[in-house]
């Protein structure tokens, strides 16, 4: 059991490209930390630095009160699950799991007992004598998990472990990983670019973009109070509506809005109505462009007034009763649900 602490960590690749530009993260003992961000933002790089597979250009990484900057991966007491699983193709499932224990000189009976226990937890007992190529994608994923848990390491590292699975299996495995992590109470760092996976798994969510951290917090904190316009648009599906205030008639409606240049409203915080906003809230006149019905809810896409140039606004409506295409509707939001962002994209505290 261990904390993981990153202090002003930077990474410059040999070519001179700075992939990580100073990151501070503290993951408490037994917590599940999810690194989320768009492709190329440096998530894998950061995770691999924690694993010891990439050198640390500057800053400090601490695992369990011990600075590990110059410590070999083998001696960091971590286990990693790779995106492509990285199973040893020439070894049976049993040997895949036993390999790390044998390398550490564990006595045979104990290895056997640990591997059987892990196989039981992951329900892969029947597969122990197979080679990886004889397994389905989901089974390989389980073996990769098994290989990590038999070691009983201080920290689990996951690099997009579910991205090669189909949608249904992905959800099932997501739930299982969470249950397993709770049960073992092992500190975990999990990389994904899927915001839903991030929201559902995380104790602490780290939203990254372009080698820097945009926001750290609990998933709901990040959802309800996004620190930047980037986080606002990245977390949540469909994303938050972001409306430029410059030259918009919304300025007048808002009255005192400080230095805000961008207004954010979540699709579910907008209500379609025939009345008006009242209580200092906001009212948007929309012309309906498109409607998506997904069963329990529907998404209405519209543009404010006649301004063709303005960004499309998404409104989430419960049920299937939606306005017709081309209809003019009024979308209102209460003042408390508005997010205001300054010129630099940072949130202005209301």
């Amino acid at each position: 059991m261990a904390n993981v602490t990153l202090r002003n960590v930077r990474k410059t690749y040999p070519g001179g490209f700075e992939a990580i530009k100073g990151i501070d993260v503290a993951v408490g003992d037994g917590q599940f930390c999810v690194l989320v961000g768009p492709s190329g933002c440096g998530k894998s790089t950061l995770l691999r630095m924690v694993a010891g597979l990439e050198t640390i250009s500057s800053g400090e990484i601490e695992i369990g009160e011990r600075v590990v900057n110059t410590i070999e991966p083998a001696d960091r007491d971590i286990a990693m699950v790779f995106q492509n699983y990285a199973l040893y193709p020439h070894m049976t499932v049993y040997n895949n799991m036993a390999y790390g224990l044998r390398n550490r000189g564990m006595p045979k009976p104990e290895i056997e007992q640990r591997v059987r226990e892990a196989a039981r937890i992951l329900e892969i007992e029947a597969l122990l004598d197979r080679k990886p190529r004889q397994l389905s994608g989901g089974q390989r994923q389980r073996v990769a998990m098994g290989r990590a848990i038999v070691r009983q390491p201080k920290v689990f590292l996951f690099d997009e472990p579910l991205s090669n699975l189909d949608a249904k299996l992905r959800i099932a495995m997501r739930v299982e990983i969470r249950k397993l992590q709770r049960r073992l109470a092992t500190t975990s760092i999990y990389v994904t670019h899927d915001q839903l996976e991030a929201m559902t798994l995380a104790d602490i969510l780290v939203v990254m973009n372009g080698g820097v951290v945009e926001q750290i917090g609990s998933p709901l904190e990040v959802y309800h109070r996004p620190a930047t316009t980037f986080v606002a648009s990245f977390i949540g599906a469909p994303p938050m509506n972001l409306i430029a205030l410059e030259g918009s008639e919304l300025r007048r409606q808002l009255g005192d809005h400080g230095d805000a240049t961008t207004l954010g409203i979540r699709p579910e915080d907008l209500t379609l109505t025939s009345g008006d906003a009242g209580d200092g809230g906001l009212a948007l006149k929309l012309r309906v462009d498109a409607v998506e019905r997904v069963g329990p809810e529907s998404f209405v896409y519209g543009r404010p007034g006649d301004h063709q140039g303005e960004a499309e606004i998404i409104v989430r409506v419960a049920g299937e009763h939606t306005p017709a295409l081309g209809e003019h509707v009024l979308a209102v939001a209460s003042r408390a649900k508005l997010h205001l962002f300054g010129r630099d994209g940072r949130r202005l505290e209301p």
């Binding site: 694993a51 010891g52 597979l53 070999e72 991966p73 083998a74 971590i78 286990a79 990693m80 790779f82 995106q83 492509n84 990285a86 199973l87 040893y88 193709p89 020439h90 070894m91 390999y99 790390g100 390398n103 550490r104 080679k131 290989r147 070691r151």
Partner: protein, 293 residues
């Protein structure tokens, strides 16, 4: 999945393979058949008359201790070449696989020896190891080693093996490099996290994953040592001293062309042909199964 192409014209496929077939027939099957026929004949000393003698040439051969000696010698020779060139090529490939700057130059340089003609390679090594001319030989002598491949059979064998193995290193290197690069990096990283040091990683992960390549190369190298080393032997030692480097192929040449014993020479080539067929069959069976892991 079917990849069969359906030809509109019935004869077109046969027409397309005809040139290849003709070449194979004219330059392989015809001489091969001739050799088989020849191996059943016995010519008198002046080449004036030939008699059909059945398997007598073969029986004669097998009775000959010299032939048996040549078989053993060829096996030792092949094993030495395959062993040394494979292990050295693997070492070079493992070093070249590291992501270093300038590795392309290094790789290109390593591939060059393959383009050197066998006889040239032989001469090159002679210059280095010639007892009186070669600089390496002089160095060895300075170390108190009486290096003389012209008189000492073992030394001659070492010399030929060196030259022949050296020529094959490039080829092996290329295959090993390709094999190494097809091993996913993450598998080795997983092994590193699993507590395996570089040596252990090599022997428990890299090496087993290379076994298909190694097996393929062993067969290729043995075939090479059996048949393609004629030029090197001819240029370097001519089979000597005292038959110390006379391999099966070289013996065919000596007995047939120089010794005038065409029947025995033909019988020897037929036996050699059978060995290639066996080796190739092993290889094909293996390639079909493709992987051991």
């Amino acid at each position: 999945m079917h990849k069969n192409v359906v030809f509109q014209h019935r004869w077109l496929p046969y027409l397309l393979i005809a040139p290849q077939l003709l070449i194979v027939l004219a330059f392989f099957y015809w001489p091969a058949l001739q050799a088989v026929w020849q191996s059943f004949l016995l010519q008198d000393a002046f080449g004036l008359s030939t008699t059909f003698v059945g398997f007598e040439n073969y029986v004669e051969l097998i009775r000959q201790p010299e032939y048996f000696g040549a078989v053993i010698r060829t096996f030792v020779f092949s094993a030495l070449i395959a062993g040394s060139s494979l292990s050295f090529a693997l070492l070079l490939a493992v070093m070249a696989d590291k992501p270093l700057s300038g590795s392309t130059v290094y790789r290109t340089l390593l591939i060059w020896p393959y383009a050197v003609a066998p006889a040239v390679a032989g001469v090159l090594w002679i210059f280095m190891l010639h007892p009186s001319l070669g600089m390496v030989a002089r160095g060895l002598r300075a170390l108190g080693l009486d290096w003389n491949p012209l008189l000492n059979g073992n030394h001659a064998m070492i010399l030929v093996v060196l030259a022949a193995a050296w020529k094959q290193i490039s080829y092996n290197f290329l295959f090993f490099l390709a094999g190494l690069q097809s091993i996913p990096k993450s598998v080795l990283e997983a092994a590193a996290i699993d507590g395996a040091g570089p040596m252990r990683r090599f022997w428990t992960v890299t090496f087993p994953l290379l076994t298909p390549t190694i097996f393929f190369l062993i067969v290729v190298n043995i075939v090479y040592a059996f048949f393609d080393t004629f030029g090197i032997i001819d240029a370097m030692t001519g089979g000597g001293p005292a038959k110390a480097t006379e391999t099966l192929v070289y013996k065919v040449y000596l007995d047939g062309l120089l010794g005038g014993n065409l029947g025995s020479s033909a019988a020897q080539s037929v036996l050699l042909m059978m060995m290639v067929i066996v080796l190739t069959a092993i290889q094909f069976r293996y390639v079909e199964r493709k992987v051991t892991y």
